[in-house]
């Protein structure tokens, strides 16, 4: 009978890892705390750099799950380590055993209301990148009504020690460039500003997206972080920043402000780390055994981790890690069985 492998988290990473493990002859069990599989991908409309539909990717990932057991709305009560591996017990009393455990519990988006000065949840016309994706997906929104001037704010909750996040969230710059172009497609007469500290367009074809945004769509990039947002008497927003390339303070009146919320560790990471004795980095993400040579392996035996639970990642990076982790689990089990450890 095929050996069970427990995967905590049913987002893109967990799903891809499960499929690889199944193909390697195991019987993976995905435990997902949300009501549905798919993670943050469910909330997104299109993916950079080419604008592939998230729905399409999600469909691909969530289909062909034959041979994979999955449970949603799961609440994990305890995880115990034994000589034979791990026992995960749910709040319903059900337990699962597995010789190895894979953590793919991902990330959460920075709660934008924590940056009080931007007024998310207070000023009607301040929305987040996730809200905008919902608008793209649904095609309607109570706030977005033919905006003439739109602002994008990069690094909301990223590179900001004031809110306790020193790290760069890596994917928001590319997302902001993508979303700005999409808005210009929808509202060709709108003027769109993007406030950035540094533009970190690291991946293949991302620089081309930026060039297109500048040249084809005329997105105006302003180097400077938004310091404060307020609401004017007509309900529009007033944004303060410095144009740091001109060394001048700037005041901009706009109809819609999109906050590019960053990537922070998922709430469950801290408690899982405590139960499993995993070290957390200063940024709150899991510390792997070796960031260069063993990014998918924990210090303790039989424990593996992949995807955004070890730091911000793009979807293709996450999927590659999922496959890598699955193969490493396979190798680990083979070695352990041969040597008689398990």
């Amino acid at each position: 009978m095929a050996e069970n492998i427990i995967i905590i988290g049913g987002g893109p990473c967990g799903l891809e890892a499960a499929k690889t493990l199944r193909d390697l002859g195991y019987a993976p069990i995905i435990l997902e705390k949300k009501q549905e599989l798919g993670g943050h991908l469910r909330k997104w409309d299109r993916l950079f750099p080419e604008g592939v539909q998230a729905k399409q990717v999600l469909k691909e990932l969530t289909s062909g799950l034959k041979g994979i057991e999955w449970h949603t709305s799961v609440d994990i009560e305890t995880i115990e380590k034994s000589r034979k591996g791990y026992t995960v017990t749910l709040s319903t009393g059900v337990s699962y055993n597995s010789p190895a455990l894979l953590l793919t519990n991902g990330f959460k988006l920075f709660p934008a209301e924590k940056k009080e000065e931007y007024g998310y949840g207070i000023y009607d016309k301040v929305i987040t990148n996730a809200d905008l994706e919902q608008y793209f997906a649904k095609g309607k929104d109570n706030v977005i009504k033919k905006p003439k001037t739109i602002g994008f704010v990069h690094c909301v909750g990223s590179r900001d020690e004031k809110v306790g996040n020193r790290q760069c969230s890596k994917v928001c710059c590319a997302t902001a460039v993508k979303q700005a172009c999409e808005m210009k497609e929808l509202f060709p007469d709108a003027t769109i500003y993007s406030f950035y500290m540094d533009l970190r367009l690291f991946g293949r074809n991302y620089e081309d997206m930026y060039l297109t945004a500048q040249k084809k769509y005329g997105i105006r990039y302003i180097r400077g972080r938004v310091s404060e947002v307020s609401e004017d008497i007509d309900g529009s927003l007033i944004v303060k920043a410095e144009d740091t390339l001109l060394c001048k303070p700037l005041r901009l009146k706009i109809d819609l402000l999109v906050l590019m919320t960053g990537i922070v560790p998922e709430n469950s990471s801290a408690s899982l780390a405590q139960q499993l004795n995993i070290e957390l980095g200063e940024d709150g993400f899991y510390k792997p055994k070796d960031t260069i040579l063993e990014p998918c392996m924990a210090e303790n035996n039989g424990l593996f981790m992949a995807g955004a639970c070890t730091g911000p990642k793009t979807i293709p990076e996450t999927l590659s890690e999922a496959r890598a982790a699955a193969v490493q689990i396979h190798n680990y089990l083979n070695k352990s069985w041969i040597s008689g450890i398990l």
Binding site: E113, E116, E117, G119, Y120, G121, I122, Y123, D124, E228, S230, E231, D232, I233, I238
Partner: protein
């Protein structure tokens, strides 16, 4: 504007304010500019609310103005504060409240410094012993006096004779609240409502019947800024900051401004005259300015105290149009009478801004 979002932030930034037994220290400048504000504070707490609040004539300045003007070093300023704490300890109190926002900021900063660097506290204890032969305990609770009125806002409202409502239309008055920078900008958790959406004065105004205006430059400094105002070469910046605020609030047609900081009351009131002289611009109705009040004065007005006993005749901007709007009774001929009914003097009226 989504009210629930603000309510959420307000509930996140609540501080513990004890109910009674306070050691009280005054501001250096308020007694000159708004002479009855502090008297009214004590009167309301003692006579209306029956609270125990203690003050001693031996207390001094906190050293704030000199410190912010770089005339005295931090060590001296901390020793002055230590002496105030020693007076509190001597009198048997643990709750410390100060009337001035600059002081509140300095007390918060000093306590934080001592918390982070106990060796500094030890040095200050030594300084105080050497210079005054005094010892102190740090206060258990520190509050700005506006925190106290915030806490008791509904008790004051229950006794109020007037509400911040237009008596003709029944509409709530449009109130601008202005918070001193050092109230919460340095330590957001020490202020009621935090630094971005402070609730301390907004809570009072709402409780007393008014409607708060949230205008774009609400968070901006009044411009006093010590080195802006006190150095004449910089004084234009001081004026310009207030000007920026008035320009920003103007479209909302505010009925009144309430502030909780000595510098802010003063400059938001007096600069309206200077702006009128320089630009011919006034911000109130019919050539008047927007009246500026301390929260104690507003509390006194709602409780039905005589406006002239509240010292409102010393304001630059005339308060009468607002008193009429609320329906507060006053005797115009008694405005400039001193104690015993003797006319002190009648001030010269400016041409640029209408006064009564």
């Amino acid at each position: 504007m989504i009210k629930e979002g603000k309510v959420k932030i307000w509930s996140d930034y609540q501080k513990e304010i004890p109910d009674d037994h306070w050691f009280y220290v005054r501001s250096c400048i308020r007694q000159n500019f708004f002479p009855a504000a502090e008297v009214t504070f004590l009167k309301i707490l003692r006579e209306e609310l029956g609270k125990d609040i203690y003050e001693t004539p031996r207390h001094t300045t906190c050293g704030g103005i000199a410190y912010h003007l770089e005339c005295i070093p931090q060590e001296t300023q901390m020793t002055i504060i230590a002496r105030q704490f020693a007076l509190m300890t001597e009198a048997g109190y643990e709750n410390y409240t100060c009337s001035c926002v600059t002081s509140f900021g300095l007390y918060s900063e000093t306590l934080e410094t001592w918390h982070e660097m106990p060796e500094v506290e030890a040095k200050i204890r030594e300084n105080l012993w050497k210079s005054c032969r005094m010892e102190f305990k740090v206060p258990k609770y520190l509050a700005h006096t506006s925190d106290l009125f915030y806490k008791f806002r509904n008790d004051i409202s229950a006794k109020a004779k007037y509400r911040l409502v237009n008596k003709e239309t029944g509409e709530p008055l449009k109130v601008v609240e202005h918070i001193g920078c050092h109230y919460a900008k340095m330590f957001p958790s020490k202020g009621v409502g935090g630094a971005e959406y402070p609730y301390v004065l907004a809570g009072m105004a709402e409780s007393w019947g008014g409607n708060i205006i949230d205008y774009p430059e609400r968070r901006h400094c009044c411009g006093y800024g010590f080195r802006q105002y006190h150095v004449k070469a910089n004084r234009g910046y001081s004026l310009s900051n207030s000007y920026k605020k008035f320009e920003s609030m103007e479209p909302y047609h505010p009925d009144m401004i309430i502030t909780n900081c000595p510098g802010c009351h003063y400059f938001m009131d007096r600069w309206q005259y200077v702006i009128a002289e320089q630009t011919r611009k006034t911000y109130g109705q019919n050539g008047y300015g927007i009246p500026v009040f301390t929260y104690e004065e507003v509390a006194g007005l709602t409780l039905g105290y005589n406006p002239w006993d509240l010292g409102l005749q010393t304001h630059q901007v005339a308060v009468e149009p607002l008193l009429d709007k609320i329906g507060i009774e006053y005797n115009a001929s008694e405005k400039y009478l001193g104690t015993g009914g003797k006319l002190i003097c009648t001030p010269e009226f400016p041409m640029s801004i209408k006064c009564c």
